[in-house]
Amino acid sequence: MKDKILQYTTRLGDDSLVLGHRLSEWCRNAPFLEEDLALINVSLDYIGRARMFYTYAAELAADGRTEDDFAYLRDQREFSNLLIHELPKGDFAYTMLRQLFVDVFYNLFLPRLAESGDETLAAIAAKAIKETRYHLRRSHEWTLRFGLGTDESRQRAQRAIDQLWGYTHEMFDLDALEADLVEAGIGVDSSALKAEWEQQVSAILNEAELKLPQEEWAVRGGREGYHTENLGQLLNEMQSVHRAYPGLEW
């Protein structure tokens, strides 16, 4: 069971780290200064969350590894994040619509993880809930701004939705590992969140006069380590300093 919790915790850490790093790419590239700071705050929330998950994972592994080993010394096949987190940052609409999809998800997921039978996971979730409520407030408002703004903002938002949609289904998959942990009262049954997620997302898209995609396509594989080419590039950049100067401190 301990090994399963370790795997589960690593997954959650990977989700947070990869998305946090993606968001950090907006640093000094956001549309204007205030938004730059706001986005980087969100990025730091995710990286902070990743640290908590990895620290706990290292504790469970008890083999001398630290949070840094989890973040910087694993290759892409060993990363088990959901694909939606690793997709490129795209334009600003793409980044914010991705946030909308994951923010609605985490607003459903984290309150349940906060009731986990594993005290550490529950504590991490309880801390992250407050952050994620604020994230959703931002992505919700930006979605309205895009949808009800100019022709261009509406088109870009709609394009982002259409391109991201097929990556949302993976968030609600439940594999054998997670099913076991749900059974044990430790993991969250994310498949049970799908109906509510769809309802909340479609309400927001309706409000913004944007359309839910009709196409039925889905990309999966992140949990088994099968990634898009984007993750390799991200890890290359993120891990380069640590790999070039192992153990360097400053």
């Binding site: 204007f32 205030e34 700071l37 706001a38 408002e141 701004r145």
Partner: protein
């Protein structure tokens, strides 16, 4: 479109602790008051500086002008009797 076409300037006021007044801490650009409030949170309270935020559209502030300072502020300079220190207290009054 440049930023100045779409974004307005807002002044930010923070209450650092309960019981204290809101103090002016700076300004920022935003599209509407709601967004200004969120940016104020993100820009000015990152290190736990506040428990309450006000934002006000800079254009909505009516401010005294440099040109007015003679007529506004100089007249009070020669009216020392408006200050408590102008008055000599009788010895019987201690510890004022």
């Amino acid at each position: 479109m440049s930023r100045s076409d779409t974004l307005e300037l807002y002044e930010v006021f923070l209450r650092s602790r309960r019981g204290l007044d809101h103090k002016h801490v700076g300004s920022l650009h935003a599209e509407d008051p709601e967004q200004a409030l969120e940016y104020a949170r993100d820009v000015y309270t990152r290190r736990g500086e506040g428990v309450s935020i006000w934002v006000v559209r800079s254009n909505d502030i009516c401010a005294s002008q440099e040109d007015d300072s003679e007529s506004f502020f100089d007249p009070s300079n020669d009216k020392p009797y408006r200050l408590a220190t102008y008055y000599e207290l009788p010895d019987e009054v201690n510890n004022m």
